[in-house]
Symmetry: C2
Subunit: 484 residues, 2 copies
């Protein structure tokens, strides 16, 4: 069965499209210790080549160059002499290469960058660099891109940067980030697929990614790994994440809704059923989803209490799945809608503080977070005026816990739209995605905390991914809701 899914994934291996970017850099003469910065003019993913030649006389020893790639201007200012993060520092886009002969040199690795800095570490003679070419790669077909027009320059910029983010993450799979981790994560996949339906419309890539997860191992509790690898061979991830498993089910439902491919949906439905049954088996005596802390993601927000948000994601998935099944008159639809009714009641009873009209509860140790409010709203535990009040209160409260990632910002915006707060949703988009645009972003960042540009989930922003898939959904909202 899994083998079968892998074959289907391989059938959909996308074409990688190549485009030569030629930054306008004049021939530059450099000696030992000199450096040169190349601005590609936009953020791209791909392969750098240039012509290294001799100036006064032939260069009679290998030339050593240190080449660093930066996704943003700000990254160039960081201290590269030390690294304090907990992810492998091999993720820093820096390579020291030796070039034996003058001529065109192509670095063998793929990079994600707008800026490149080349330092001459060793050369016995002066050299020149010229003819820079960045061969940009993506599986997105730009001729398929739907147009977006707005009289509002900020919204147009947000859409453009979001589309660029998505394009650069579309490779063999929907990568989470082309700098890091360059792999397929469920949380990113679902959001990329949503943005893709309104932009490049590559349904085959979505299908490939859905099949890759269908081929993966389940964890001990019956959930999907948060990520899989597929280059050069398929390997399941080892971190099984419950809310990501729910988002997988949502992605399958989205696929049916946007593509109408009932056969694929029905082929993947047994897996969705299995995942929902696994979640159902984890309900505690209060009817609340209870799983190990480390099996939940929700957001990179430090110290976040996740019970309410996590249960909201489960309810939201029940809602999506029962709607999808209903749309094809599938007999199982009622199973999930019944669970949804029970779940909403449990959530109301256990996770909602009626007196304060907020999702503040013992399960989350009294923590007051946007995460809980947004997911409970998306799960339909509150709606109408009540949902609006819950959302507005928690967002405006100075002391509430706020999202750290555009991933969670996405679901916050979705909750605002769902509860009818369209203006506030657009305002939120301007604040978060417009905030990044105002910082000069060519692509949207993995983490974005207004006022804290160096925040890193990994304790060192040098490994942050500044073109991150889960941040691309501003385009989805603008286009889906016709905001111009």
């Amino acid at each position: 069965m899994k083998e079968h899914f892998l074959i289907k994934a391989d059938e959909n291996l996308p074409l990688i499209r190549r485009k030569r970017i030629s930054p306008d850099i004049p021939l530059t003469v450099l000696d030992k210790g000199d450096s040169l910065t190349v601005d590609l003019g936009n953020h791209y993913v791909g392969y750098l080549s240039f012509n290294m030649w001799y100036v006064d006389e032939y260069i009679d020893a290998p030339v050593t160059l240190r080449i660093r790639f930066f996704e943003t201007l700000g990254e160039m200012e960081l201290d590269y002499s030390a690294y304090s993060g907990w992810l492998s520092e091999s993720w820093i886009q820096e390579d020291t290469v030796k070039i034996d002969f003058p001529g065109v040199y192509t670095l063998p690795r793929r990079y994600a960058a707008r800026y490149v800095r080349i330092e001459v570490v060793h050369t016995p003679k002066r050299l020149s660099l010229s003819d820079f070419i960045f061969e940009a790669v993506t599986s997105a077909d730009e001729s398929m891109l739907l147009p977006y027009k707005s009289d509002d320059g900020e919204l147009e910029a947000i859409d453009r940067v979001a589309v660029n983010t998505l394009k650069n993450c579309m490779q063999r799979v929907f990568e989470d980030g082309p700098k890091r981790d360059r792999r397929l994560w469920i949380g990113d996949l679902r959001l990329e697929a949503l943005a893709n339906y309104y932009t490049f419309r590559d349904t085959s890539l979505v299908k490939r990614c859905l099949y890759l997860f269908a081929a993966s191992d389940r964890g001990s509790l019956g959930f999907l790994p948060g990520y899989v690898y597929e280059n050069p061979v398929f390997v399941s991830g080892t971190w099984h994440i419950v809310d990501y498993s729910m988002m997988y089910v949502c992605a399958v439902c989205d696929y049916l809704l946007h593509v109408g491919d009932k056969d694929t949906f029905l082929e993947l439905y047994p897996l969705c059923k299995e995942l929902m049954d696994s979640a159902n088996a984890c309900l505690d005596s209060d009817g609340i989803l209870k799983v190990p802390e480390e099996d939940m993601f929700i957001d990179w927000c430090p110290g976040l209490k996740k019970t309410a948000a996590h249960f909201g994601a489960y309810l939201y998935t029940l809602d999506n799945l029962s709607a999808a099944l209903r749309s094809i008159s599938h007999p199982d639809a009622h199973v999930y809608s019944e669970r949804l009714i029970d779940g909403r009641a449990s959530a109301r009873r256990t996770l909602f503080n009626e007196e304060r009209s907020a999702f503040i509860n013992d399960r989350d140790e009294g923590q007051y977070s946007v995460h809980a409010a947004a997911w409970m709203t998306l799960g339909g535990v509150v709606d109408g005026d009540e949902a609006r009040r819950v959302m507005l209160d928690v967002i405006s409260d100075k002391n509430s816990v706020k999202p750290f990632t555009p991933y969670m910002h996405h679901y916050t915006v979705e909750a605002l739209f769902k509860s009818g707060l369209k203006d506030e949703a657009v305002e939120y988009i301007r604040r978060i995605w417009g905030g990044m645009v105002s910082l000069g972003a060519d692509t949207f960042y993995e983490a974005y905390v207004p006022g804290d540009p160096l925040f890193s989930p990994y304790d060192d922003s040098k490994v942050n991914s500044m073109c991150h898939a889960w941040s691309c959904t501003a385009t989805y909202f603008l286009r889906k809701y016709g905001i111009r």
Copy 2:
């Protein structure tokens, strides 16, 4: 004219032959900080590849490996944390590479090595290394190699190591050393060509190299550059060396003698004439060749006084050229034999100390060197018993200045053979080339001073070339003189 020579050189661009060496290394599991040493079993020139794979789980970040290549076992013991030489440290065969995906990885650069050490600088997970392949390259055609057999194990070993040295230096040109400088030098070319006539017999490669120098620029005094580059384009060297220009003429004469290709000889003769006339124009009022100190090479021996040795190389060349011209009944032969007679007389008068029966003179500030004696003998300033006494005295004298390179050892041995000291020549070969064999050499070294294994002409032995063309001629002597 020069363009014409370049076209002829390009016509002879050799085929590079490839052979896969598979060292017998079991799959090895490594973690961060671990290292692995691969013994290729012999010295080769080429490209390394291996399979890097995951062990416990997929390696979720690029792996950083530091890979060093060593020509000898002794090099592995050197301190690679500091470099004190005056050549570019880029010559040290060390690269730090990042590998993004498991699978077969091929380093892009060519190396010269017997041993490879791979250190894991960064990896988030354990990895395995296996399936090492070293794709060895040479333009030598091993099927053309003439056999050499001896009952004497040492002589067989010397021949085998010499042939291996030559083979590994035979690439697009006769390189001086495949680690460093990887270029065509006249001093090496002449000796490689001589060894080649008795081993691989690739006359086309000799021709290519002769044409490359024919295409080069002359210096202000009318001599050839000591070296040229030809990859990716032809570039003349900038150090014009008088004794190397003489050795070029000798190489052209050798080519006629061994190949019998009179057309090529006659095409290159005008250049030889020009070089000999340039030397003749540099004779001083005593009839001794006088050129700037920096335009002479002779040997890497520190503090060497070169007048006598250098003049000997000139006389030796006159002798070779007049003989070559005579062999084809060329009318110019007498020009050089007349100059030779005059030159020998000048040398005897000015450079030989009759009282001490040695080449000790004011021009060389009274320095007593093997270099002067050997070259004066080769130039025919002394012969017979006198030459034998001169040679034996200077070699056995504890205080005489001795050669530092196998290049000068070659001409010393040639002088011993020329003066009829065959046993002493073989003894000398055993002492120098056999000395390197007893140190475990797979190829012969650029510099060899018995008792001083770390001697470096560049003040740091890490950039020494341990497979150096000018050291390959032990095979020439053994085979030419039928020593078994």
